[in-house]
Amino acid sequence: MSKLEYRAMQELKYRSGQIDRRTFVRSLLATGVALPSALSLAGQVAASTPKSGGRFRMGLGHGSTTDTLDSATSENHFTLVNGYTFGNHLTEVSNTGELIPELAESFESDDAQKWVFNLRQGVEFHNGKTMTSEDVVASYNHHMGEDSTSAAKGLLTQVKSLKADGKNKVIFELENPNADFPFIVSDYHISIRPAGDMASGVGTGGYILQSFEPGVKSVLKKNPNYWKEGKAHFDEVELISIIDPTARQNALTSGDIDAMDRVDLKTVNLFKRNKDIYIWDATGTAHYTFPMRLSVAPFDNYDLRMALKWSIKRQELVDKILLGYGAIGNDHPISTANRYHNAELPQREFDADKAAYHYKKSGHSGKIQLSAADAAFAGAVDAAQLMAASAAEAGMEIEVIREPKDGYWSNVWNNDAKGWCACYWGGRPTEDWMFSAAYTDDTEWNDTAWKTTDAAVKFNKLVKEARAELDDNKRRELYYECQRLIYDDGGTICPIFNSYVSANSKAIATDENIAANWDSDGAKCVERWWFA
């Protein structure tokens, strides 16, 4: 046995409690590790070993008195975290971004059109009932009924039929092949609840709901029968809605909560000085865009779009608007957190010459209007001003129009009355999902109206092809090409990906990988974190 193997073995024993700290440190010393490093190594190992217990209090920047326990109406981050805490789904996105089975033990498909999910056996709901295929079917029908107003209804229109095959198997028949369907079922809306009880908050999750006051707080306690191993470490959980960022930060500073989301970027540098907390951030799929509508002149002109795409100082936007908490984008919506992010596309930078060249070629003259309001994202108006300043360097004149916040999404965004505006997207876990939300020709949210150019037609064809493709390499090729088409011909300017910035008390320990598919460790922090 080599020294390294011996160390690893001792570490395992220490983690599992077979040997104590003293023995562990001594064994490290014996293999030639110096005392200070041995001690810090022991500390690291101890910190990364989940411990049970404690009351976890989290302050969340969302929550409203209209919130419910019905996952069909989940729309804000409070309901997301709450839902993931007491409920499970067929699949889950792990903290490393992989899709793993959750209540489904496994899933398979030969043609991406018929999907079979084999359910985990012996999983109990909080009310003692054993979960079967009947509950899964009922939970899905809850979102699919004719008069369902579930927010997941649109996602599930692709399901032609759904039936139980015995107690432990569910078969989905789709309208068209979709290789990403297992990702869709991890969506936070589609929580598995006992048949006939979709709204009272009974689930299979790691915590049992004790009380829920909409817009105020949710109190949960550990589920002693939780089926998932090595998860859900806290004894009690209190999720508190604290909308005001200053109040949230005060509460964390004074120890009234242990963790919070959405740190105020304006004060993050002061906040960081506090020795009892740490700030962490995760760059996920969320991004800010400036969609140009191809249905409105002058944005139907390829060269004008190109000129604007070359006239943006992306790093400046990250530094000034996101205060460094983000990454630059490359004019397509697929982030590095996605599976098939096309890293081969050259990064577009500010280039006054190229911008001026395309601008001249476009033949446009005069002001170009850009509508913005902070309803799009915090700092949208400032970002628009910065873009106007850099475009001026390339000889273009952008007029920033400050729009009212109220009604921004109905009167400004995705509206032919305004050719160019600011927008944000929470992002989607898969390429297909993101494209079909905002870029294909059949979605209402196609805010660039990019539908009829040759590239757009090709894009739509490729997206459909990729959806039905199960071969990983072929899908990669198709999605790379899709990203290139948006990058080149598309109407969107996607200059920045914003990070989720959160703060935890030093008492909270997490795995070294933190999920980026949603804020708060994929909104599953409550079952993933523990008290160090």
């Binding site: 419910t68 369902s148 107003t149």
Partner: protein
């Protein structure tokens, strides 16, 4: 009939008339709110048909006067209707009665208002009387400057300063006041301490200065000079002769501030995450949950009218001329 009883009944009648007018104003103001609940809750998924179906289901397609009569008729019987939210999603109706939504929040608000009043009213009376007693002294000036300073700052600023001092630097009180129905009284008091202090600092100046001004005003009256000439000490003059005649204006201003504590503390609620009725109303306005907005507004109106009525009655009872008319 006793003249006091007669006046009280008269005022009560006037109060009811005011309430009727207020209910009309509330209803028409909400009619004028832009946007509708169907669109607000369905969001970007709202198509014309779904919104129309939603409006039908909620009875929003009825003409305004019918809805007004239904609402007022229900409210008289103590039924404020059913909240709009929670009515969607596959036909199951999980909406809550407005009264069930408001009651726990209103109880929290009344609790905070009472705690604040219990601190603020005696303190302002004491400060007002003593500063009248030692008029223009250093004491008087200090009290005036301090209270004027605290009233001049916006509430959230006072709140943040208190949090900084009493929750962060010297952690004596919690910065979160998130009480719920199961919180025991002692814990509830402890958690509500900072919001109560904040509100005290905000309202003391008004009440204290009114007390002081009312008393000083009277000190110039001939009957006070008479009392002085008959050898009464300054303390005696103020407590025995001036104060009894000053109760009416003091009661009015106290009532005004108490009403403010019930209806106007949403900023303090947000900063301290206190689940009061103000936050509920703001949420309801955002989501266009009309029954809840109307219910809250009506309760606020009743609070104002009742407190002013009480102030009036106190004014009458403490004024011998009104109590024993010729």
């Amino acid at each position: 009939m006793h003249p006091v009883l007669q006046t009280v009944l008269g005022r009560l009648g006037l109060g009811l008339a005011t309430l009727f007018v207020v209910s009309l104003i509330i209803f028409s103001a909400i009619e004028m709110l832009p946007g509708d609940f169907g669109q607000a809750i369905l969001g970007q998924a709202a198509t014309e048909e779904t919104v129309a179906a939603f409006r039908r289901e909620l009875g929003l397609d009825e003409p305004p006067y019918v809805r007004y009569l239904q609402w007022v008729g229900g409210a008289i019987q103590g039924d404020l209707g059913t909240s709009f939210s929670g009515r969607n999603a596959s036909g199951t109706d999980r909406s809550r009665e407005v009264i069930d939504l408001i009651a726990p929040r209103l109880w929290n608000t009344l609790f905070l208002a009472s705690v604040t009043a219990i601190i603020a009213v005696p303190v302002s009376l004491f400060l007002g009387i003593t500063s009248a007693l030692y008029r223009n002294s250093v004491y008087d000036r200090t009290i005036n400057t301090t209270t004027l300073t605290t009233i001049s700052f916006p509430e959230f600023f006072v709140a943040y300063i208190l949090i900084l001092l009493l929750a962060s630097l010297y952690p004596i009180f919690p910065s979160l006041a998130n009480v719920d129905a199961s919180t025991p009284l002692s814990e509830r008091l402890y958690r509500s301490a900072l919001p109560a202090f904040t509100l005290t600092l905000v309202i003391v100046a008004h009440m204290m200065r009114m007390t002081r001004a009312a008393i000083i005003n009277l000190l110039a009256s001939p009957y006070i000079q008479m009392a002085r000439l008959s050898g009464a000490s300054q303390t005696e003059v103020i407590l025995k002769h001036a104060l009894p005649n000053a109760w009416a204006p003091i009661a009015t201003v106290i009532a005004f501030n108490l009403a403010y504590l019930v209806v106007g503390v949403v900023v303090v609620e947000v900063v301290f995450v206190y689940p009061g009725v103000g936050q509920l109303m703001v949420d309801a306005v955002t989501s266009r949950d009309i029954p809840v907005v109307q219910g809250c507004a009506l309760i606020f109106a009743v609070t104002y009218i009742l407190l002013n009525l009480i102030a009036d009655i106190i004014g009458i009872i403490t004024n011998p001329r009104l109590l024993h008319p010729k």
